[in-house]
């Protein structure tokens, strides 16, 4: 409606996008402008609302309010089809590929052109050859997708978008599954796309990538945009500050640690995923009584696999885990046996693993401990003891409302987590493994949970804390191990650690001088 010059109009403009999922305010009146022919970074922590925003642009979700403008023209995007028609393509974090199809079939799917396949496939083959020449996007077209390495699968996704005539290409955490070398290749390719006039939006939480690949960068935090910079004119440090929002950095009151005997020793631990890819690559470290050891790192660098291997959920492919004198791997001790040896575990993903959604709070309060003598009366479960135990935990950990019979999903995330923490700490462990203790937890509960962890340390227990929240690691850990790509890339004493230092290490930059 406005006679704007089309040429100078931004490739994509979002005006006042707002989106709620139930109680979660995922996007708060977000406005964003992306210049044509640029690579625009969108950075923020997990849960900052980046993916939601991009899913709205791609028509996967519908915004509650706001407008989308493409090249100076307002568009209604209600489905991926609308987005494709508007020249928007998206490469999702989890690839949207049909694994037993060939590359060609995947590219053609949904953009066939005619009813018969032969013609569409032939046309696509020609078109893809052209794309391969233009952008250096070589992929064996007749290979079955599942047999391709991840990097090539990603190329297929990019080809899919380009084949549909995408002018704007959104990549959601594209390097989460790539090696650093593959990531660099990807960035070079994105550069070629830009040179040909395409617009790229790179969604990531990795500072290094923003610095390496983008022209401009927008920072999101808690669903809102908190800053926008020329990439050349900013620094990783400035971005990190914006991302984390130093103003609300939580510092926990704690005395210096007084580490005692070593309780948990890990030697040369290697863990492979379902596909046989090593996710943890020969780690060795120890955790002593009376200290909190923090594992910092960007999500997906092997922390989850490490935790699960230590807890006995995932068998390691190599290495030793020694818990108070017993070697867990060789002895084949499962999760329950490890409980008995004094290992407790607060899992990273509460709803996937830490609780049973259909159960009441009291039934969840014995998960993993249901065969303790305390909960037993003859051959039966002692309901009274279970109820009383849950009531006690709820009182001690301030779980609200204190109703053990209530279904666990009817509690807020913070109260669920407090109950899980209560369950694990109440078992009086010598070693506590904690993954993302404050994910999806409100501020009040965060402080409470942090105090509990410190108290546990002061009681002479060993705590291994895995978190992607830098301020959490900085606030709690006495010793920090930084993980990158399955390896420990550095160790810093808690007192000496700064965000900048950790951030650089997390990005895989080693040997940075002391700040």
């Amino acid at each position: 409606m406005e006679p704007e010059a089309q040429a100078s109009a931004p490739a994509l403009e979002l005006r006042g996008i707002d989106k709620r999922f139930g109680p979660v305010h995922a996007n708060r009146t977000v406005s964003l402008s992306v210049a044509a022919g640029s690579i625009h970074g969108l950075i923020g922590e997990n849960g900052a609302g980046k993916s939601t925003l991009m899913n709205i642009v791609y028509g996967f979700h519908r915004a509650d309010a706001g407008e989308i403008w493409v090249r100076g023209r307002r568009v209604e995007i209600g489905s991926p089809q609308d987005a494709i028609a508007a020249g928007i393509g998206m490469v999702h974090q989890h690839f949207m590929l049909v694994e037993n199809f060939t590359v060609l079939e995947n590219v053609v799917l949904g953009a066939e052109g005619g009813r018969r396949l032969a013609g569409s496939l032939a046309a696509a083959r020609t078109g893809l050859a052209q794309l391969a020449r233009d952008y250096g996007l070589d992929v064996p077209l007749d290979a079955i997708v599942s047999e391709l390495p991840v990097g090539l699968q990603q190329r297929v996704e990019i080809l899919k978008a380009l084949h549909r005539g995408a002018e704007i290409l959104i990549l959601d955490e594209p390097t989460a599954v790539l090696t650093p070398q593959e990531a660099d290749q990807l960035f070079r390719m994105l550069g070629r796309l830009r040179a040909q006039g395409k617009t790229v939006i790179l969604v990531t939480h990795k500072l290094r990538e923003i610095m390496a690949a983008t022209d401009r960068v927008t920072v999101m935090r808690q669903g809102a945009i908190v800053g926008e910079f020329e990439t050349r004119a900013t620094s990783p440090r400035e971005l990190a500050e914006k991302m984390v929002g130093r103003a609300v950095l939580l510092r926990v009151e704690k005395a210096p640690a007084r580490p005692g005997a070593t309780l948990l020793t890990v030697r040369d631990l290697e863990v492979r995923d379902r596909l046989g890819v090593a996710r943890v690559k020969g780690l060795s470290f120890a955790v002593r009584a009376g200290e909190i050891v923090g594992i910092a790192g960007v999500a997906g660098n092997g922390q989850s696999e490490l935790l699960e291997a230590l807890a006995g959920i995932r068998p390691p492919s190599r290495g030793e885990i020694v818990l108070s004198g017993r070697e867990l791997v060789r002895e084949g001790l499962d999760a329950r046996a490890r409980h008995r040896l004094g290992l407790a575990h607060v899992p990273e993903d509460r709803l996937r693993m830490g609780v049973v959604a259909g159960f009441s709070a009291q039934d969840n309060a014995i998960l993993g401990y249901h065969d303790l003598p305390a909960y037993r009366r003859g051959p039966l479960l002692d309901r009274a003891a279970i109820l009383a135990g849950c009531g006690k935990k709820m009182a001690a950990y301030d779980v609200r409302p204190p109703e053990p019979g209530r279904r666990i999903t009817e509690f807020s995330g913070g109260n669920q987590q407090k109950l899980v923490l209560a369950r694990e700490i109440d078992s009086d462990p010598r070693v506590l493994l904690v993954g993302q203790p404050t994910r999806g937890v409100d501020i009040g509960a965060i402080e409470f949970i942090h105090r509990q962890l410190v108290a546990l340390r002061d009681a002479g227990k060993a705590v291994l804390l895995v978190s992607v929240e830098l301020d959490e690691i900085l606030g709690l850990a006495d010793r920090i191990l930084v993980m990158n790509a399955g390896e420990i890339v550095g160790e810093v004493a808690g007192a000496d650690a700064t965000e900048e230092k950790l951030g650089l290490m997390m990005a895989g930059v080693k040997g940075e001088g002391h700040a």
Partner: protein, 324 residues
């Protein structure tokens, strides 16, 4: 000579038994390839068998019977899709519900309308039934054992539905592997998210697939009551819907191997009928029941991975919901 004739007749019987099995298995193929479990084949077939026989008896036209059979099976298919796709209900439960409901509804309606104890009236003549077609010179050719008898018994002498079913195999393969619809169908059964993000409606595709399975079950049911026999009787599918499902699994969800599985299963059936009480040299009398159970045993062994592997469409049975 005697043995040769016997074998030819056995093969001819195999073709007749295989026809409804094949139609139902291909019906299941379309449904399951789209990610919807085809547990309702039995019910759709039985419903169609009743409707076809009833309509044919009342109108005197087997073609109207076919129409009624197809319409009934498609209506049941829509019910399955409504429950399992639109409302994301349990597809196994939906299939069982339809099977059980139709098992009662057919005889109940037959009793109410025709008062023949749960059957439809005897269908007579070419108007009300699909009768075997005799090809030119087939009767004359019969005299010459080879290839005359083969021509007369295997190529000639079947009804229209048999030829339709035979033609359906290459046609299904063509649709599945050579058309846009087939590509999308295969994709939605493997990864509905990929189809959704490619701008195609998952719900629409699955409805289409389930309705195709309704049409084919309609033809299969019509065959049972108007071609293989002369009217509807209680429980006349006798588990053929489940056997078709087994054939589909045995055929690894592909048209030609499914045809092979249907022929194999039908052959065991025909053989069991032939061998009833016959003492064979060396082994003696083979219990008919064991031959009849062979398809089910083979399918279990296949599912267990002891004979080859059957990889089902990945998204099968899982209602599609966008993730947050």
């Amino acid at each position: 000579m005697e043995t040769y004739t016997l074998i030819v007749l056995l093969l001819a019987a195999t073709i007749r038994v295989a026809t409804p099995l094949l139609l139902a298995a291909l019906a299941g193929l379309f449904s399951e390839r789209s990610g919807v479990i085809a547990l309702g084949l039995e019910g759709m077939m039985l419903g169609a068998a009743f409707a076809a026989a009833a309509a044919s008896a009342v109108t005197g036209s087997v073609w109207l019977g076919l129409g009624a059979g197809i319409a009934t099976a498609v209506a049941l298919a829509l019910l399955l899709a409504f429950a399992g796709v639109t409302h994301r209900g349990n597809q196994v439960v939906a299939g069982m519900a339809v099977n059980i409901m139709v098992a009662g509804l057919g005889p109940a309606l037959a009793l109410a309308w025709f008062n023949l104890g749960g059957q439809t009236p005897q269908l007579e003549g070419a108007g009300q039934r699909f009768l075997a077609l005799t090809w030119p010179w087939a009767d004359a050719a019969r005299a010459a054992p080879f290839p005359g008898l083969l021509y007369a018994e295997l190529l000639s002498g079947h009804n229209l539905v048999v030829y339709f079913a035979a033609a359906l195999v290459p046609f299904s393969a063509w649709v599945l592997y050579r058309t846009r619809f087939g590509l999308r169908l295969r994709a939605v059964g493997e990864n509905p998210s990929a189809v959704d993000t490619a701008g195609i409606s998952v719900t629409r595709l699955r409805y289409q697939a389930v309705m195709i399975s309704g049409v084919l079950c309609g033809v299969a049911g019509t065959y049972l009551s108007t071609a293989a026999s002369a009217g509807f009787v209680r429980d006349m599918t006798a588990g053929k819907g489940y056997l078709a499902l087994a054939a589909l699994i045995f055929g690894k969800w592909r048209p030609y191997p499914t045809l092979g599985a249907c022929l194999l299963f039908a052959f065991t059936d025909a053989l069991a009928t032939r061998l009833q009480g016959v003492a064979l040299p060396l082994v003696g009398v083979i219990p008919v029941q064991f031959i009849l159970a062979l398809p089910y045993v083979l399918t279990v062994l296949l599912l267990a991975g002891f004979v080859g592997t059957a990889v089902a469409p990945k998204a099968i049975g899982a209602p599609y919901a966008k993730e947050k």
